[in-house]
Symmetry: C2
Subunit: 163 residues, 2 copies
């Protein structure tokens, strides 16, 4: 019994982005755009960077699985509203990719270099051992930045069951 | 084209736990057991809580997918070594669950209550929209606690490609 590659990719990212966008809406109401520069350690990415890397991770995962060309983003977001637009643009693009293209990606060979070492993946292993953990890393770290700065968001908001 | 429910569950959790255990080993060398109590906000779980909830999330996901009885843990870990033993015990139990039982869980009805509202999942949707995002939430927040406290770990360590 199995899970479709489409179900394990596009809607997982889209759901995560909806959560992230709602978290950012609450951040905007709480602290405003100064939070865009907030970070948990001097050498970690700030909130803008976490959203940009979430966008890139999902975008490249869908592009590599579906063998399609991803859009280019400039990483010039300076406000919460800008970051939410970046999310909207990423979601719109993901939703434009054909389901069948993503399904076909499960066995596609995908190669990625980390620390000068080339790693070979199948589409499935790339999704499960790189893209999904990396995507939720950035969504979670955005949430953690907000919590650390006193924004009133909770775990159910992160899980998408905050109502 | 599809991904097996087993591949999308047990080994994803086991890989995440290996990453988390290595992060904790570096934390032990850096700051020792005082980090067990570290947290990012007064009303967030500390490092011990993040590891305990990662353990529970994976354990209950495997138990519910596989329709098997999970082990009980006391949540009494007080040192980094204790937390690493908790991870080892969780991994050993996950690896003891039959692959076929997990495969069969893809369409199993799973019901969970959040904020007094009952939510119905299939095995697949429970895994993709609750268990995996929640599991990586706790692994990432453990990492973020360590980074916030100056432990020398990096993104490739989180991704499992730190070498």
């Amino acid at each position: 019994m199995s899970i479709s590659t489409y179900d394990a990719s596009a809607p997982v990212f889209v759901r995560g982005f909806r959560v992230l966008s709602e978290l950012l809406a609450k951040a905007e109401a709480h602290g405003g755009d100064s939070l865009v520069e907030a970070r948990l350690a001097p050498d970690m990415l700030n909130l803008a960077g976490q959203v940009q890397r979430a966008s890139d991770t999902a975008k490249f995962a869908v592009a590599r699985l579906g063998d399609v060309q991803p859009p280019s983003f400039e990483d010039n977001e300076a406000t919460i509203a800008d970051l939410r637009k970046r999310i909207d643009a990423t979601v719109a693009w993901i939703q434009s990719v054909d389901r069948a293209a993503l399904e076909a990606g499960v066995t596609r060979e995908i190669s990625r270099k980390f620390k000068d070492t080339e790693h070979s993946f199948t589409g499935a292993s790339y999704l499960l051992t790189f893209a999904i953990p990396n995507f939720f890393f950035h969504v979670t770290t955005a949430y953690d930045i907000l919590r650390h700065n006193g924004v009133s968001v909770g775990k159910l908001d992160y899980l998408g069951f905050g109502g």
